[in-house]
């Protein structure tokens, strides 16, 4: 079973600062790391490899410093890591990102399953995984929380949509996106970390994908999405107020105050 796991480097979202006036993320304020959902995807892939044999390859598209995330994926069990890097890829929306990743996957040639995290914590769209499947014209199942069975011929998964659980069978090749419920990613061993630090990371530029990708569809040029404005909501702290009077009066005052804040409907 040969598995591909696309991973994205994202800022540590608990630490990252926002420039509210410019409406952008200050990426220098927090270190980059593998998108947390992609860790679940990687763990799913490594577990499948342990069960069925084969290989796990990770692909990331990003700036040169995204190499650290590719290295981390090697420490966590991937056999090969590829970074798509270069100014041609910069400014890509989900359409152009999935296009580039799909081209790289075509270039790899031999694979059975692509496993993605359900979304990234910075973009939060959940679109790139399914879009890769569309570019490659293969089936996909999103929001997978369990793999019931997997073999060389197909995969049976449970996916969660709204409040329902669906059992779905898919032939291979296929793409799935996984939720955080599917597993708890293991910690890498120190020995694997050291090995990954010294590993050669393959870097592919736009010219390496020329057989599979039209350069005008890459990066900002290939992105139909235009960002007009980013609004960063201000953080509201806790507030307290003491209401006095008889229990009836105080209750009424509390209800009125909550209605005024829009958190309670009007009393009938």
């Amino acid at each position: 079973m040969d598995i591909i796991v696309p991973v994205k480097q994202v800022p540590d979202m608990e630490r990252v600062k926002f420039d509210t006036e410019a409406g952008r993320i200050d990426r220098s304020s927090a270190s980059g790391e593998i998108n947390p959902f992609d860790l679940n995807a990687l763990e799913t892939a490594v577990q499948l490899k342990e069960k069925l044999g084969g290989t796990v390859t990770t692909i990331s598209m990003g700036p040169p410093q995204a190499e650290t995330s590719v290295r981390d994926s090697l420490a966590r069990g991937a056999d090969r890591g590829i970074l798509l890097v270069g100014k041609e890829f910069a400014g890509a929306d989900t359409w152009a990102t999935s296009y580039a990743l799909a081209a790289a996957i075509q270039k790899l040639g031999k694979w059975n399953i692509i496993i993605c995290g359900e979304k990234t914590v910075d973009g939060d769209t959940g679109q790139v995984g399914p879009e890769i499947a569309e570019w490659l014209d293969i089936p996909h199942v999103a929001y997978v929380s369990e793999i019931r069975d997997a073999s060389e011929s197909g995969i049976t998964v449970v996916c969660e949509m709204e409040a329902d659980h669906y059992g779905i069978e898919s032939p291979l090749p296929t793409l799935i996106t996984v939720t955080k419920d599917i597993n708890v990613p293991r910690l890498p061993s120190f020995a694997d970390k050291m090995k990954a630090r010294k590993a050669e990371i393959e870097q592919w530029g736009a010219s390496d994908l020329s057989e599979f990708a039209d350069p005008t569809n890459l990066g900002l040029k290939g992105s139909p999405t235009r960002l007009n404005k980013v609004v960063i909501p201000s953080e509201e702290g806790r507030k307290g107020e003491v209401f006095r009077g008889s229990p009836e009066d105080a209750t009424k005052k509390i209800a009125d105050a909550l209605q005024a804040l829009g958190v309670l409907g009007s009393a009938k």
Binding site: D12, E14, R15, E33, P36, D72, V184, R186, L187, P188, S189, F190, A191, K193, M194, R197, V242
Partner: protein, 456 residues
């Protein structure tokens, strides 16, 4: 006894509580229930917001002699905060402001009711760090100060005492005094501030603390090292320090405790192999420095038969491991008792092996967690030991052993109200008398937290 009416005159009607259902939580702390002193019935809880209000309360309590107990986060494990006589409980919950994170002098100035968790967040937001992790993040700074809390991450930079640089204190007689400041050096007269640190709330009410901060470490990592034999794990600890690596923390945990705590928190303990674990937290000025320390640690562990070495670098993976370690006491509760002894770090292997012999002699098991790098182990005495009536015998054998090794009865939990008899057994008479004299000098009417920390 001071009346609720008189207290309302000081802090206002809203901040005095007498209803029994509302004061129940102020009558207990985190001491193992079997060891918890019994709280008195007639308690008035008062919630001042300024040092001046506390001063007035204490003056009143001296005029009309009334015991006064100070309440922080309630995370103490020796019953120090429990009001054992009818009297007043001063809750510090309204002292919750962080006044300043001074990035020029690398100091934080915060009121005593600020929680450890809030301080860590505030420091981090300014790219600063407060390196120690003295236990529960709900603990309040005033309590951490007067208990000289230790916890994990004390190996490299020390316990609370090493960070406290200044204090505002209301003395038991009502005077408001300031001690120290944003100072790394100050030799002005007797170090009274350091007497208040670790006094367990009997010498004054701390209302504000100045704490030393460090710049946030650019590189950190947490290693989890697995062993099949707990003696191998413990014997590794002095060897790591001798190798020239001083980690922020070297913690020890038995497998059953690690898994029990992870389950209790709804988490998963990351190590699959081994029955005994060391957690080593490293810090450095960059990733390369951390890796070079990690290589040295891994090499030492290998020599002591480690079976697996994991390494977390992501912030949330590191904090998950620390969380599991920090929540052990809550997860194993209730138990008969949880000891808090320390021995010289170089003797920790002997100590562990000798306690195992005691357990064998009594045909029982004594799980262990501890701040191994500090020589501080928490032996957990299960309820089964109390049920068999051998609790006191086992404890005394362990304490005698600790004394023989030149150790301490309590490394970080304190004497509180729980261990006065123990102190009486092992402390010499002259030191007992000096302690009583000091208490009398600060608190002539013995109103502040009586029955705590000293032998009467």
């Amino acid at each position: 006894m001071v009346t609720a009416e008189a207290l309302r005159g000081i802090v206002g009607n809203d901040w005095v509580v007498t209803a029994s259902d509302q004061i129940e939580l102020y009558r207990i702390d985190s001491t193992p229930p079997a060891m918890m002193p019994k709280a008195a019935e007639n308690i008035i809880v008062v919630k001042p917001s300024t040092a001046e209000e506390i001063s007035q309360i204490l003056k009143l309590a001296n005029q009309d002699p009334t015991p006064v107990y100070v309440r922080g986060g309630g995370t103490g494990m020796a019953g120090a905060a429990i009001p054992t006589r009818d009297g007043i409980v001063i809750s510090m919950e309204r002292f919750d402001k962080i006044e300043e994170i001074d990035t020029r002098s690398l100091m934080a100035v915060a009121q005593a009711g600020v929680t450890l968790g809030d301080l860590l967040v505030a420091a981090d937001a300014q790219n600063m760090s407060f390196p120690p992790h003295p236990g529960d993040e709900g603990a309040q700074l005033g309590g951490l100060a007067v208990c000289n809390a230790g916890g994990a991450r004390a190996v490299k930079f020390g316990v609370m005492r090493n960070y406290i640089k200044g204090m505002e204190v209301v003395l038991p007689t009502g005077e408001i005094v300031t001690m120290g400041g944003k100072l790394l050096k100050s030799n002005t007269g007797l170090p009274l501030m350091h007497l208040i640190i670790d006094s367990e709330g009997i010498l004054g009410v701390v209302t504000k603390v100045t704490l030393r901060l460090y710049p946030r470490f650019p590189g950190t990592a947490t290693m989890v090292i697995s062993y099949d034999d707990r003696n191998d794990a413990i014997n590794t600890v002095p060897a790591i320090l001798q190798a020239g690596v001083i980690p922020l923390a070297i913690e020890y945990m038995d497998r059953e405790i690690a898994e029990l705590t992870a389950n209790y928190l709804g988490m998963k303990w990351p190590a699959q192999q081994g029955t005994a674990y060391l957690i080593v937290i490293l810090s450095g000025s960059n990733e390369d420095e951390v890796y070079s320390q990690a290589e040295m640690v891994a090499e030492v562990c290998q020599r002591f038969n480690a079976v697996d070495t994991l390494m977390a670098e992501r912030r949330e993976e590191q904090s998950d491991i620390l969380k599991i370690r920090s929540e052990v006491q809550s997860a194993v509760s209730p138990n008969a008792d949880s000891l808090d002894t320390a021995v010289p770090p170089g003797d920790i292997g002997t100590f562990m092996a000798e306690v195992d012999k005691i357990a064998e002699k009594y045909n029982t098991k004594i799980p262990v967690v501890g701040h191994a790098g500090d020589g501080n182990l928490h032996h957990i005495l299960m309820q089964e030991i109390a049920d068999r009536g051998i609790l006191d015998d086992i404890k005394l054998e362990i304490y005698d052993l600790v004394m023989k090794l030149g150790g301490s009865l309590t490394a970080e939990h304190g004497i509180g109200k729980k261990s006065i008899k123990l102190l009486d057994r092992y402390l010499d008479d002259r030191q007992k008398q000096i302690s009583r004299d000091i208490k009398k000098a600060f608190d002539p009417n013995n109103i502040l937290n009586p029955d705590t920390a000293i032998v009467p």
